[in-house]
Every structure is written in C-alpha cells, then in structure tokens.
Amino acid sequence: MLDKHADYIAAYGSKKDDYEYTLSEYLRMSGIYWGLTVMDLMGQLTRMNQQEISDFIKSCQHDCGGVSASIGHDPHVLYTLSAVQILSLYDNVNVLDVDKVVEYVRGLQQEDGSFAGDKWGEIDTRFSFCAVATLALLGRLDAINMDKAVEFVLSCMNFDGGFGCRPGSESHAGQIYCCTGFLSIAGQLHQVNADLLGWWLCERQLPSGGLNGRPEKLPDVCYSWWVLASLKIIGRIHWIDKSKLRSFILACQDEETGGFADRPGDMVDPFHTLFGVAGLSLLGEGQIKDVNPVLCMPEDVLERLGLHPDLLS
C-alpha cells in the first residue's frame, strides 16, 4: 500500500475541495515536513519539488532569525525546527541564515532553562525539544545553557516517571517523546527512570493493539509514534506487543484514498500518515527506511550529518 500513500501525499493540497488545507496554513511548515519525511521514508522524496519548497522556506525566515509556518505568519520555534528538518533532508540548510536561526533559538531560553515558543512566552517542554533538535541539526548545541535546559526538563518528571508540558503537568505521551528526545540529544538519558517510564509507556497499549496517550483515553495512530519512539529511546521497545500494534496501525490506513487516519475508519491526513509509517518503520517494516526515533527523520539523513543521538539499551 506504500505507493498509495505516496500518491496521497504527492497530491495533497492540489485537489479543489481543500478547505482543510486552507485551514491548516497556520502550520504549513510542519505540514511540509510531515509530507516530505514520509515520502523520504518511502523512498519517494524526488516526487516533491525541492526548489519551490526551499524558496518557500527562505521567504518564511524573519529578521529575528525565526521561521514562520507560512508567509505572513509570525515566527515560532515549532516551525523553525520543521524548516531546519526539511532543509536537512535536502542537505541544504544554508537556504536559511543559520547564525540568525541559532540566535533566535538562543533568545527563547528563559532564566529557569525552559524555552518559550515565541516572543509571546508560552512555555512547554515541546519547545525545549524543538530548540535542541534544531541546534543539533545545525551543529550548534553550544549556543544555549544546556545544564539549565536539562534542569527544567527534569523538573517536569512526574511521580509516574512520565513528563508533562510544565512542572506538575500530567504525563502525556507526546510530552514524553519530547522530553526523552531532549534528554537523548543532551546526553542525559541516564536521568530517566527507564523501567518506571517504560512500564507507563507499555501500559498505553490497549486490547485492540493500539496505543493511547494517557490512561483511559482512546488509541490514536500518532501515539504509535510518540509512545513507540519513546520506548525505543529508553531501550524498551520490546515491551509493546508488536504484532498487535502493527495490525492496529495497518487498520488505520484508507485503502481507497491512501494515507492513515487517527483510528480505523476516520479521515486520513498527512500528520497521521507520517506517524503511521514511522511507527511501522520502528516496528521493522522492511519496505520502509529506518527512522530515527529522536528526530523522526530517516536515519540515512542523520548518518550524513554525523548525528547519533543516544539511545538506552
């Protein structure tokens, strides 16, 4: 079915009835990252238009160095990371003024080590991850106060071993992915209680085989990524029943249109398509390229960059 998924992504946005595409303009940069990454994982990156995308990204870098989701939108660390990820796929980061990107990211760090998403000051461990991932891809991790950054992320560790968005926030698989990814890049994975967190993460698996993001919530294919990648990072991916999860992910495909939905029978979108395919890659699906669990990018791209974020065994 991979060809069908590739066709879905390649055609995304070009259909006439595209209100959803319009509505999602505020995250366009991430949308492009999702599409390109999944195409690359399926070996079909060449079907996308590198030049147009590079030009688009260039137009999205602001004077402050940050990158916005789309033209005419404000810069944000989320879209700065997506832009750098996209350009890394193309080995082309110099489309951006890299020094200014670094300066922008550095400027988002707060006194307590946390990172704001943008100048309006929302704090979230997601942004800690975006900051270090961006800098790691640019080889500029030295630009921030790493010790303080680590201190803040660790202060978000909860009694159940998980992490939330700010200190005290409920453990959530998406935030856990960001924090374990962060700690991997920071070389601080030993600070995680791998057995306790691994238990919490494998508890996400429901009888259907799918994974949820918090206790008593519904499964969603994107959690196949957030949970699975986290487990891979902390060396406990074998604690999931792989064949049941695989069946669940495959059931989220739409055989007619291509693409993956959040759960079987729902509407597909590029976000869930990437995470469904990436999840399958982590499960060892032969026809899909190996994906790096920390950065959610093809391993061969990181190989080229010489990036080997830590994983626990």
């Binding site: 995304y12 946005g13 070009s14 259909k15 009835d17 595209d18 209100y19 595409y21 319009t22 509505l23 303009e25 505020y26 995250l27 238009n49 030049q51 147009e52 995308i53 030009d55 688009f56 137009s59 916005s68 033209i71 005419g72 939108h73 944000h76 943008d118 309006w120 929302e122 909860n158 009694f159 159940d160 071993g161 939330g164 968005c165 700010r166 005290g168 926030s169 409920e170 453990s171 959530h172 600070q191 209680n193 791998a194 057995d195 306790l196 691994g198 238990w199 919490w200 494998c202 508890e203 698996q205 085989g209 918090r214 206790p215 008593e216 919530k217 074998h238 604690w239 029943d241 049941k244």
Partner: protein
C-alpha cells in the same frame, strides 16, 4: 423612516439597477443575516486586499472558501499596513472565528488590545466565549492567560475552568491553565475538595489523580505519615470501587516509592485481602512491586518472597496481562538474576542479562 417610504415609490426597474448595499443604505437597515464581504464594504474601500502568497512558485494549487479568502485577504492588508484600529480588532475576531488556531491573528489581536488600550474585562468575556466554543486549542488558552496576567485578576478562573472541565474532564489545556492559576495566585485551599468531586464523578480520571498529587505536593506534602496513610487508604477505597483503574495504581505506587512499598504498615495485608475480591492485573503487578521492594530492603525470607514474585510475573505474562508479557518476563528475569541463589535453576531465557543490572524499577532518584 422617510427612506422606507421613498424607496417604495421608486420604480422597480430603477431599484433592480442598484446594488443591495445601496438599497440597504437608503432603507436604513441591514439584513443582519446576510454576510457582507469586506471587499464590498464601503468603509473598507481604502484598503488594498492582499491575496495569499505561497511563495514565488506556489507549492500547490489552493481552493478557498470565499468568506475565508475575503477575511484573510483583509487581515493580511491590515498586517502589511500595521494598522491599529477598532476595525482591525473586529476583523481579528472574524479571522479567529474562521480559524482559531492561527497564532499570528492572536498575536496581532494582543498588539491591538494594548495599542488601543481596550477594555480587558470585555476581552475576558470574549475569550470565555471562544474557549467555550473551541476548548482544545493552545492559542485560546494562552491568550486567556495573558489577559488574566494583564488584569492581574484570577477571580473568574477556577469557576470558568471547572465549567470547561465539566464538558471534558480531561482537557489537557484546561488543566495546565488551572495549575498555573492556582500556583500563581495561591488558590490552593479548595482544590483538593474539587479533585475529590471529580473523582466521585469518574474515578478513572487520570488528570484528576495528577492534580491530587500536584495539590498535596505543593501544600502539605507526603512526608507526614498521617497524610501518607490517608492517601493510601483513600486510594484503596477507590480501588474497591473500580479495581481496573490504571491511574489509582500508578498514584499509589507513586506516593509510596520513595519510602518503599514494603515499608508501609499493613499495606501488604490489605492488598492480599483485596486480591480475593477485587483482583486485577494492576493489583498483581503491584504485589510484585511490593515483593521486589521487600527483597531490596530485607535480608530474610528471600527465597519465599522471590518465588511468590516470580509466580506472579509468570501468571501475568502467561494469562493476566499477556499483551505486556515481555515486560513481565523482564521483571521476572531481573528479580531472578538479582535475588536468585546461584544454584537455583532459572527460567529459560535466551536473552542476555546486562552485567549492570538496572535499578529496581520503582525507584526514582529524589
């Protein structure tokens, strides 16, 4: 009004030649249900709408709904001119209604609120309505927080958040906001009561259990044995109500792990009692945790306790929690390796055990 009488005397042909807006102006009223595009509004004629620009070569062709295009073309025009006006503020509301996730529109709205020195109480009413409509959105909650900060007035917050949580008791954004308000303005006093009420309604609400931990950690703490025991007994009571409840078991483990699960007086007995009437895979797993803690901290009865623990791991892997059999096998192997005597036969394991045995899994460094 005289306007109405005049139009009724005008010939029908003449009327048809005029635009709807002209007629409306003469009549002196607007049909409140008909949307007028910004491009057709006289009072906006001074602005040049800015169409969507997807870059030098648009990545893909885009189709928009007319109204969306119209509003956002004018939004972009305002941004371009850096216009700070009441009409701009009104337009941001329309843009938000069409797409409340568009963070740039929210930024601009805040800039306008400050530049125009708008009534922030009115803005609170506005954001309240928006959140009621679209409660699962980062931007709306961040905006509310900013307004509360500017006003330095949290007096409506707890009630408002409770209202939102009554519609979805696990709304992650709502809980973040609630934690911030409580911490920032020191509104701890009645929160435990609120949490208990939520747990009465749904004992499986993980957010509420997390909040319970949050409140107690920031107020009395768990170091007072009376408090700790109160929480242990409260948890056991909830377990009786609903034995298959991840959250309560994670909470119980969480509050006891620093001191050690086996150190709490009478707990093992209570759990063994519950095992007869309210068993669950969580209970069995918790027993394993207690036994493990015991093995870690005492020197006697190792063989007996170990064998009980291993038996449970096997039962869980084989029958009670098969989807996590790999985890239970791992736990069994770890226990065996760490506490087994050298001449007891191990369960067949093809997996290597690391020379550096991982720390007992319930321990976190304080």
């Amino acid at each position: 009004m005289s306007g109405i009488e005049e139009t009724s005397n005008v010939s029908s042909e003449f009327q048809e030649e005029r635009s709807e807006e002209e007629v409306e102006e003469e009549i002196g009223y607007e049909d409140p249900f008909r949307y007028v595009f910004y491009r057709d509004r006289k009072e906006w004629a001074d602005l040049e709408p800015v169409p969507q620009d997807d870059g030098p070569n648009p990545v893909v062709k885009i189709a928009y709904s007319d109204k969306f295009t119209d509003v956002y073309d004018y939004f972009r025009a305002l941004l371009k001119n850096d216009e700070k006006s009441d009409r701009a503020l009104l337009l941001t509301a329309e843009a938000i209604e069409l797409n409340a996730a568009n963070y740039t529109v929210w930024h601009y709205r805040r800039v306008l609120l400050q530049a125009l020195e708008k009534d922030l109480r009115e803005e609170m009413r506005y954001i309240t309505a928006i959140i009621e409509d679209q409660p699962k959105n980062y931007q709306v909650w961040h905006h509310r927080r900013m307004v509360v900060e500017w006003l330095n007035d949290p007096s409506e917050e707890l009630e408002f958040i409770a209202e939102i949580l009554s519609q979805d008791a696990k709304n992650y954004h709502a809980w973040q906001h609630r934690q911030w308000v409580i911490k920032e303005y020191k509104l701890w006093d009645s929160e435990l009561e609120y949490v208990e009420q939520l747990l009465e309604e749904d004992v499986r609400n993980n957010s509420a259990w997390n909040q319970r931990h949050y409140i107690i950690s920031h107020t009395t703490g768990y170091s007072d044995p009376a408090i700790l025991n109160r929480e242990v007994q409260y948890s056991l009571k909830q377990i009786k109500k609903a034995p298959h409840n991840e959250s309560v078991w994670n909470y119980l483990k969480g509050i006891l792990q620093d001191l050690g699960l086996s150190s709490h007086p009478g707990l093992l007995e209570q759990i063994l009692e519950l095992k007869e009437t309210h068993c669950s895979p969580y209970l069995l797993g918790f027993l394993v945790d207690i036994y493990e803690d015991f093995l870690e901290n005492t020197l006697e009865h190792h063989e007996e306790v170990l064998s009980k623990a291993l038996e449970l791991c096997e039962l869980l892997a084989r029958e009670k929690d098969t989807i996590r059999r790999e985890y239970w096998s791992y736990v069994g192997r770890s226990l065996q390796t760490k506490y087994g005597s050298s001449d007891s036969s191990t369960t067949t394991s093809m997996n290597k055990t690391h020379p550096l045995i991982e720390q007992p899994f319930h321990r976190i460094s304080s």
